[in-house]
Amino acid sequence: MGKRYQLSTLVMIIAGIVLLAVPYINDSRSFLILMTQIFIFAVFAMSYDILIGFTGIVSFGHAMFFGIGAYATGIILDRFEPTVPTLLISIAAGILLAAVVSFIVGLLTLRLKSHYYAMLTLAFSGLFLVAAEKWRTLTMGNDGFTFRVPDILKDRMDYYFICLVVMFIVYFLLKRITQSPFGKVMVAIRENEQRVESLGFQVLYYKIIASVIAGVIASISGSLYVLSLRFANTSVFSMDTTLDALLMTIIGGVGTLVGPMLGAGLIEFAHHWLTELAKEHPIFERWLIFFGILYILVVMFFPAGIIGTIHGWGRKRILQRKSVKEQKSPAG
């Protein structure tokens, strides 16, 4: 584990350097926007991974935190001067609100299990969606509104770097958390909640903390998202937004953190590529079919998600080597 940890850090650092260099190699704006989009959704998907992958909580309402961040930032920037302090306040407001809501939602894990909890979160995010639709003076409903952003965010290249850095900070932060003693308990909760309790851990606290971490980070990604669009509408609260996070996380591999990032990249690139093909070849006109097939193929060939399955291969090889040498197993 120790070795793999170092290896993955190394890989991430190399990836980081490459990504930092990318804008100097290919400075096409729309490419940068695509990449920025990927970074933002990677953050969102990683926040979801904390729930589904590490704590074993399935939520169908994660969009609510994304939306909270999005609207907090959008509304505050729209109402006040678009300066950097306003921007920071708006992001903080989203974080605060998301923390409060995720705290309450986390509390409910006490009462509700699995599907029932998932559906309750669906209900909550549905209520947020309706609220956003109804509170038209603030949100303009599903048509939405545009707003101005501070000048420092105007440049797409700068924004690319900002999102990239945020993604890496979030990754290393979450990585650290999941590799910490706290993180080990989270994983144990996923495996056998009741047993964790009788080992002397307060399961509910862990779940609430996980829920708040996930909520806050989702809110940050929501803020980044609207900042990149300079536009907000109710779609940020929609089921589709939750499904995006869900898909990216699962495709990449739950419980891996790198997986959700890869998933975000894969989905966005596949999307980009398929829609490009759709323009050239008539058979790709119904490109969504190929998208659907992609999901199906991933499940067939990467049952634990791409990163998850590759890890599995690695693990298998290690174990085989071990059993051949009849070694005593070192730390798992």
Partner: protein, 286 residues
């Protein structure tokens, strides 16, 4: 009084329609514990194929038959290719059925085009009766009867045979059920096909109700069906029926008395039920 009657009858009819949509999911999600996000796709295919049969043959009975057949065939293919490898794994189920959902609804557009299609009510079921100020829409009465019929048949089968039992046992421990001499794969296949057929039936019955069908109809109604299955208590048919009625009536009365909340009514209802009854209204599982 007439007002209450009107709201109740229509609320019940809507509820029954929702029940018809949710009945298949009660089998597939409630009983078999498969998070089938493609349920809406099966449902939309039922609607499209039914409407197509109706418009080409002019017989609504054949349309219903056609939809059910479509449901069975799609159910067969889906179970064999898509669902079988992912039993017991919710995470894989989510991904693979979402993929299937995309494929199914896009294929609808390939076959029938991207436009919405109007669905006619057969003449003998269209129109309404007026009893004083109470208006009874014939087709809605028909829906109520169909709903009760489906409920009766399924309930009878589940009670009189041990299929329900076998499925529940199979979900808990598939291997053990096999060791007891039951070909659980085949049982699951059949139950899944029945669930799909019921989804398709729901689809074809919905079509004349709303008068129009479109390729995206599936997801919308599937969420409603999930709501019903969960608040009814996973896997309980009476629970689903009751929950569907509740959703129908709540929708109808809320829209009249508290219109501002009518958009939120389903989600509110679900939140309230789950907070007070964390396992749904009719939890059958221990």
């Amino acid at each position: 009084m007439e007002l209450i009657m009107n709201l109740s009858i229509n609320g019940l009819a809507t509820g029954m329609l929702i029940f018809l949509l949710a009945a298949g999911l009660t089998l597939i999600f409630g009983l078999m514990d498969v998070l089938n996000f493609a349920h809406g796709g099966l449902f939309a295919w039922g609607a499209y194929s039914g409407v197509w049969v109706y418009s080409t043959t002019g017989s609504f009975v054949l349309a219903i038959g056609g939809a059910i057949l479509t449901g069975l065939v799609l159910g067969f293919i889906t179970e064999k290719l898509i669902i079988q490898p992912v039993y017991g794994n919710h995470i894989q189920q989510i991904l693979i059925t979402l993929g299937l959902m995309l494929v199914l609804s896009e294929l609808l557009k390939v076959v029938w085009g991207p436009n919405q299609i109007s669905a006619k009510t057969p003449s003998y079921l269209s129109g309404s009766w007026e009893l004083g100020d109470v208006i009874i829409i014939k087709y809605r009465l028909f829906i109520i009867i169909m709903g009760l019929l489906v409920f009766g048949i399924v309930q009878f089968i589940l009670k009189k045979t041990k299929i329900g039992l076998v499925v529940r046992a199979g979900v808990l421990n598939k291997e053990m059920v096999e060791a007891l001499g039951i070909n659980i794969k085949r049982v699951f296949l059949w139950v899944f096909m029945c669930g799909s057929a019921m989804a398709a039936l729901g689809g074809v019955l919905l079509a004349p109700y709303s008068g129009v069908i479109h390729a995206e109809m599936g997801m919308e109604f599937a969420i409603l069906a999930f709501v019903v299955v969960v608040i009814g208590g996973m896997g309980s048919f009476p629970g689903s029926l009751f929950a569907a009625m509740l959703v129908g009536l709540a929708g109808s009365f809320m829209a009249y008395y508290v219109p501002d909340l009518s958009l939120a009514v389903n989600m509110l209802l679900m939140a309230v039920v789950l907070i007070f009854k964390p396992k749904g209204l009719f939890a059958i599982k221990g």
